[in-house]
């Protein structure tokens, strides 16, 4: 035996620089190992609160982003027709001058004619400030086409939702129920949590038409019919209420279940909650039998009370819920066929939830004091937790479905308790503590407040005096009154139609609107390239910023090339979408761990300069000079309110460094870098649970600057703002919906969760199969799946077809099928999948690429066999014959209803490539460097 002698301790790197990943929305801490100044290896940061050392495939593949041939190299000016990809490189001075020359007159004369929408933006508190200072009402990020149903339903119901808002109590939960298609959000914490609870034998139930990813490891997989989650959840509510398996103490103390609903049918407040003169919800105190404000010290709210006054009975929310959900229409037997789950199984699941929630309940030995001043010796645990991916929200009934899920967990008393679902700071934060939408435009001046927010009734709608929509996307109008994230998917369509008005400049960031980020992709390309009678483009000017040669680049007139995430400053701010954990507040930075080797600039730094050139007040000093030299300067020196800046760590207090509230500290970024790129502050022990009602948490949150005064509140099983819109539709008030929307508002904006079927509007009778998409875990939210390593994992995307449909259509693996929707058709390769709802087909989203984009060879499988379902989905519903443009969106929030897509399939002869097969675009960056051997050390 002659073994070679190995060097078992080779040098790993010269230096480790710790920053934040940007390969998806998860924002893990990463250790970037450098050799001779080059990136040699990326691993997870063990100290980081999000990922605690682990890292997903995307994160480790980040090294292939910084050498990607698709990186844009310099600012570009369009020289050929739009869509051709013909550009010339220009200097930054010229690029910024062009943008200034375009935008200056817009701001002076018609600020609303700038539509500024950002996609995978993680700096929304910054980009929105820019848009607000510019003065346009037309700003939003991608939430409206992604997940606003999830976010808004959570905030209106309980002051927070899943994802960045909260997480299961992984240390204590014993039953974890996961809803919805998609394999992420948030990426690593979910995997870590599932691993943790499975290691101790807790049960995971997955409710998802597709058994992949988390559903593959779920102990029980419920292959539900798409779009029926709400009905299934309400059947669980039916079973649990009927069996009395609900937490009465919790409901009485912390929710509006005991609040009294105005029962006077003649009153303009019919259906609203009774309140005292100070606006506080009223309950009946079981001790006195009298009407009492909900938060009075010592009050015992009565869940079953009826308040009789002047011949009218006002009953509690709990009574209204009992009347609705105990009806047989919500019984397992009544819903089984529609949801595709047997009544027996629905009962088994409800029974298991009841068993774990109540038989396995436990207490933590932790004293706490509630907002009424009552001391509790222990914390009651309820070890059932829920989570949802975006699938359930991407339907036109998604808002009410997400509401139903939150109502279910509140009925169990499992929100913000040990073993249940826990909020992450700055949540909990009720809808009333968020801004309302603002659309007050003044020429040459800032908007009158933040663009996005939460409406609480018709008065908050973003309407002009004549009742027309103030925003280009028609957010906060009668078509979708509670559209808290805007409707990015309607911007181009509306601007093209001039409905509600034409715009001058479309300015976008990281939003692939001419490809996978739009419904009706082919139609959008036409809208972006069509000209009017005078030969001008109908959307006259398009400015776009991206780091890579995405499909959208070809459709812009001016390209502002961004850096990769390892070459830039960023802040993951508590003012934005934070990275906190349930037991800690946290924020983080990115910093340039390497310098760009191209003439590119961080988009936010470019906005600092452009803002100053346009004399935007937020970006200009009193003497007219540029206020923030770059984004790093903004991160350190901007104060949103006195003492509150983008970063909460290492602020300057009166007696030295402090956290949360404090003055500007010029050394702040250095402190972050020294600490590994992040800041974390733990929530005190007694404040860890019951946060909305826990006096210790409320005080801590005020100290940290999360809010300015304690704001305890009740969870809203019954959501009054919905009822206010219904009241308007019933004829109350001055602001009235148009006639064609009146009935829909009455039907859908129910203050208690309901389920309705979007399938008929999508012509399910002719198109009986549901078609879905999801991104694979190794690519989810990943900006650039041209990544050399990741594309070898998922380089093409077959259409997965369940066994029954394969047989019915005489299909076998590798055959091709024509898929037809009311809007269009595609021809694509198929593959059988047995672990799939028998009437659902699906594919991986955004694998398909346009020829010429992403610096891929035109023969790359992404461009020849890859495909998008987007060609089948229209931003409008099929015409109803009334001449109106009905958005393919949730009627409450405007969320894009991607997953309401109905199709039929048929076998077809194999074409040479997937159809539609669009002509190539000219790559502005060249393509295909061939073989890759990326070893930076010797």
């Amino acid at each position: 035996m002659n073994q070679p002698k190995l060097d078992l301790s080779p040098k790993v790197s010269d230096e480790i620089r710790k920053t934040t990943c940007y390969m998806c929305a998860c924002r893990c801490g990463i250790n970037v190992h450098l050799k001779s100044g080059k990136v040699a290896y990326i691993e997870g940061n063990r100290d980081h609160p999000v990922n605690k050392g682990v890292l997903c495939a995307k994160g480790s593949a980040g090294i292939m982003q910084i050498n990607a041939p698709s990186r844009l190299k310099a600012p570009l000016k369009r020289v050929g027709p739009r869509g051709s990809g013909a550009f010339e490189e220009i200097s930054w001075d010229e690029a910024l001058q062009i943008a200034t020359d375009w935008l200056e007159p817009v701001r002076r004369d018609n600020p609303e004619k700038l539509a500024f929408f950002t996609g995978r933006d993680q700096s929304q508190s910054f980009t929105s400030l820019w848009a607000q200072s510019f003065g346009t009402p037309n700003y939003a990020a991608h939430g409206g086409f992604c997940s606003v149903n999830m976010a808004a339903a959570g905030i209106y119901t309980m002051g927070g939702a899943f994802w960045e808002f909260g997480q299961p109590d992984w240390d204590h939960t014993k039953l974890f129920m996961l809803f919805g298609v998609a394999e992420d959000h948030d990426s690593n914490p979910i995997k870590m949590g599932i691993g943790k609870i499975k290691a101790r034998g807790a049960r995971v139930i997955g409710v998802n038409p597709i058994r992949t990813g988390y559903n593959a490891v779920a102990d029980d997989w419920v292959g539900i019919t798409p779009g029926t989650d709400g009905l299934f959840i309400l059947a669980l509510v039916h079973c649990l209420m009927k069996a009395g398996k609900i937490d009465l103490t919790y409901l009485a103390q912390y929710t509006n279940a005991p609040c009294l609903v105005n029962g006077d049918e003649k009153s303009p407040e019919f259906g609203l909650l009774l309140r005292d003169d100070a606006g506080k919800e009223l309950v009946i105190d079981r001790k006195t039998g009298k009407l009492t404000p909900f938060d009075k010290k010592g009050v015992k709210p009565d869940l079953s009370a009826t308040h009789r006054h002047a011949g009218i009975s006002h009953r509690t929310v709990m009574q209204h819920m009992a009347e609705r959900y105990l009806k047989d229409e919500y019984s397992p037997e009544a819903v089984a066929e529609r949801v595709g789950i047997s009544a027996k199984r629905i009962r088994n699941i409800a029974g298991e939830i009841a068993r774990v929630a109540f038989d396995e309940a436990f207490e933590l030995d932790q004293e706490w004091t509630d907002f009424r001043g009552e001391k509790h010796k222990k914390m009651q645990g309820r070890p059932v937790s829920f989570h949802s991916m975006r699938g359930v929200s991407a339907h036109a009934n998604g808002f009410q479905t997400c509401r139903a899920l939150h109502v279910l967990q509140i009925l169990l008393g499992s929100v913000e308790v040990p073993g249940g679902f826990r909020f992450k700071p700055p949540y909990p934060k009720p809808a009333t503590a968020h801004p309302k939408p603002h659309v007050g435009v003044t020429k040459g001046a800032p908007l009158n407040g933040p663009h996005l927010g939460f409406t609480h009734g018709p008065d908050d709608l973003a309407l002009n005096e004549d009742g027309t929509p103030a925003r280009i996307d028609k957010a906060f109008t009668w078509e979708n009154p509670m559209s808290s994230h805007g409707l990015m998917h309607m911007v181009i369509s509306n601007a093209y139609a001039g409905d509600p008005y034409k715009i001058d400049t479309l300015f976008m960031y990281m939003a692939n609107m001419s490809w996978n980020s739009s419904m009706n992709t082919g139609g959008v390309m036409k809208m972006l390239t069509d000209k009017d009678d005078s030969g001008e483009y109908i959307i006259p000017r398009i400015i776009y910023s991206d780091a890579y040669s995405s499909e959208m680049v070809a459709y812009a007139d001016l390209i502002l090339p961004d850096t990769t995430y390892l070459e830039r400053h960023d802040c993951i701010s508590l003012l934005d979408r934070p990275i906190c954990e349930a037991d800690a507040a946290a924020d983080a930075i990115r910093w340039p761990v390497i310098e760009p080797d191209r003439d590119v600039r961080g988009f936010q730094s470019v906005l600092c300069e452009l803002g100053a050139k346009l004399k935007l007040p937020a970006f200009t000093n009193d003497d007219g000079s540029q206020k923030y030299a770059d984004y790093a300067d903004y991160i350190v020196n901007h104060e949103r309110r006195p003492g509150i800046g983008p970063l909460a760590g290492w602020r300057m207090g009166e007696k030295g460094l402090t956290s949360g509230r404090g003055g500007v500290n010029e050394g702040q970024l250095d402190s972050y870098i020294k600490n590994g790129g992040f800041f974390v502050e733990h929530i005190p022990d007694g404040a860890q649970y019951y946060k909305p009602w826990n006096a210790a948490y409320q005080d801590w949150a005020v100290k940290m600057g999360l809010f300015d005064a304690p704001q305890p509140y009740l969870f809203s099983l019954y959501v009054e703002p919905l009822r206010r819109f219904q009241l308007a539709a019933e004829g109350h008030g001055d602001r009235q919906p148009p006639e064609h929307l009146r009935q829909r508002i009455k039907d859908t904006m129910d203050p208690l969760p309901i389920w309705y079927d979007p399938a008929p509007e999508n012509r399910v009778d002719d198109y009986p199969i549901t078609a879905l998409t999801q991104r694979p875990m190794a690519m989810y939210h990943s900006w650039g799946s041209q990544n050399a390593w990741l594309r070898q994992l998922h380089g093409h995307n077959p259409l997965y077809v369940p066994t029954k449909l394969m047989r019915d259509n005489n299909l076998k693996d590798g055959d091709w099928a024509r898929v037809t929707s009311p809007h269009g058709e595609i021809t694509v390769p198929v593959l059988e999948m047995a672990a799939l709802n028998e009437n659902t087909i699906w594919t991986w989203n955004a694998i398909g690429k346009r020829k010429g984009a992403w610096a891929l060879d035109e023969k790359a499988p992404e461009a020849t066999k890859g495909f998008l379902l987007n060609h089948l989905i229209h931003e409008l519903l099929p015409p109803k014959g009334d001449g109106l443009r009905w958005a393919n969106s949730d009627p409450i929030t405007g969320q894009a209803a991607w997953f309401d897509l109905k199709v039929r399939i048929e076998k077809t002869d194999a074409p040479t490539e997937s159809q539609p097969n669009l002509p190539p675009i000219k790559s502005p960056v060249g393509k295909d460097p061939g073989d890759l051997v990326w070893k930076v050390g010797k």
Partner: protein, 258 residues
């Protein structure tokens, strides 16, 4: 031909939990990153942005659909999807070593790791043919045989903090489905885990005596089964009232007691 050691002092290897692996490929890419930069030749990618991209990977995840056999408890079982990560299993009777004509492939006597000494590898590929698991890959650019090293350049590396001295795939696995340790020690984490959860050899009939063990998926979909004669969950759903009125009567009585 190359001989195997009669016995190794340690048996280092992995436990891979098929009940927990979500198929995210984190281990695949972390491995690719570490081993491109470290031990021996880089792991290349040919035609990286082209029509037929093909890279060298030391660890891959395959996904298999499984249709369970009907039983009396589950007469119509749902199909399942199993994610199956696969890399070198560091077999005790490794046919890839004995087939090697130059001695380049060898099994380390101190810890049992199977390695390729790249300077002696002639790229003949016999070892890859001999491996029944398809765990070795010839690098298309360097023309040298690549395989899992169990991160031999990490696990003893004094330039790494002690906590990081484990294979890259184990360190990165978000679901905690991968475990590293010494199977020669019955008290090690991997030995105990394997004993508790019924750790299995991959293709035992090949006689290779793999060191790595796979933990089988736990029984699934038990809530869909008819649970025998007595429905143990039914009592939890015993109605307190048949309708809203009955429910409110129960509510009132219960609230009195609270």
């Amino acid at each position: 031909m190359t001989t195997l050691p009669e016995k190794t002092q340690k048996k280092l290897g992995l436990v891979i939990d098929l009940d927990t692996c979500v198929g995210c490929h984190a281990c695949v890419i972390s491995c690719k990153g570490w081993n491109t930069e470290n031990y021996g030749a880089a792991l290349s990618d040919t035609d990286a942005y082209g029509a037929n991209p093909s890279g060298t990977f030391l660890n891959r995840v395959h996904s298999y659909e499984v249709q369970p056999t009907p039983t009396s408890d589950q007469p119509a079982p749902e199909a399942q999807l199993i994610h199956f990560p696969k890399s070198c299993l560091h077999c005790e009777d490794a046919p890839c070593v004995t087939v090697c004509p130059t001695g380049a492939s060898y099994k380390r006597v101190e810890d049992g790791i199977v390695l390729v000494n790249e300077s002696d590898c002639i790229g003949c590929g016999l070892c890859a043919w001999a491996c029944p698991y398809g765990a070795r890959e010839m690098d298309a650019v360097e023309k040298v045989m690549k395989k899992c090293t169990l991160c031999v350049d990490r696990i003893y590396n004094e330039n790494l903090p002690e906590i990081d001295r484990e294979p890259a795939c184990v360190r990165t696995c978000p679901a905690g489905a991968r475990h590293f340790g010494d199977f020669a020690d019955p008290e090690s984490n991997v030995s105990k885990l394997s004993a508790e959860r019924g750790g299995m050899n991959l293709m035992p009939e090949q006689g290779t005596k793999p060191v790595n063990k796979y933990l089988p998926p736990r029984p699934k979909d038990t809530l869909s089964a008819p649970a025998g004669d007595i429905d143990i969950l039914a009592p939890y759903l015993e109605p307190v009232g048949q309708d809203a009125k009955g429910f409110l009567g129960w509510l009132d009585k219960t609230l009195e007691k609270l």
